[in-house]
Point group: C2
Chain length 150, copies 2
């Protein structure tokens, strides 16, 4: 199933069908490339950091969450990011954690400037295997309207 605006009224809740496990190797490689700070680079450096333990870059968590979003709420032609209004990391993501997402539609309306599109405002919560939230994102995405189909 692909989602048009009409499939996403306010209050719609979706949940990812699978979880993504954050392996230690991938966590370290992501940090090496994109976020080389002590908490993300290895056990010894992390032990002396604020978190006290090796944990994933928040941007790694965000990227995994995007992957799950694409699978959970696929949009014809791809969703078009129309602005993020909040992104918060609530808990460290540890090596071996398995992440899933929940999406809730907060607002859903036709676009004034683009009659073939709608704007969906949503909150995506990323949860670990213990159902603890690790990240919350609130954002807008442009999606096609069904009547806009050829």
């Amino acid at each position: 199933m692909e989602y048009h605006l009409e499939d996403l009224p306010v209050g719609t809740k979706l949940r990812s069908a699978r979880r993504v496990t954050v392996t230690r190797d991938r966590l370290l490689a992501f940090a090496e490339e994109f976020d080389p700070q002590p908490a993300h680079l290895g056990d010894e450096q992390a032990a002396a950091s604020h978190f006290g333990v090796l944990c994933a870059s928040g941007w790694h968590t965000a990227a995994i969450s995007m992957r799950l979003m694409v699978e959970t709420m696929p949009v014809p032609g791809g969703g078009i990011g129309a602005g993020i209004e909040a992104l918060n990391w609530l808990r460290p993501v540890l090596p071996g954690d398995s992440l899933g997402i929940e999406v809730e539609v907060l607002d859903s309306r036709a676009s004034r400037s683009r009659p073939d599109k709608g704007i969906v405002r949503f909150r995506m919560t990323t949860l670990n295997q213990d159902e603890q939230p690790v990240q919350v994102l609130t954002a807008h995405v442009l999606v096609p309207r069904r009547q806009g189909d050829a």
Copy 2:
């Protein structure tokens, strides 16, 4: 140089010493792993997408920007993300684009709950090689106070 709160008064402006070039191969691999949508997966699929041309996942741009942030405003022990209040992608990032960042401190104050830390609110603008902004992030980061040093 590493930055403490006292080094980051309101109005401080920093600029990355280098740019990161987004190669086509890395762009495609990032999208395959984290954001498999038509605009990011290949020329043909992208041609039919909203953007009409292959472009990087916004999360790839965000991750590269984080890398540049770590280099541009290094913080003793690593900065602790304390919430993102806005993240917007303004222009597509194309294969071969070279990204740099500008950081401006918007607010800078001691933490009430943690006397050894301060909170810096900043805006980071990611620019391509033509000095066009491609991303703007506004966020808070916890940084150590100099008087908090042992």
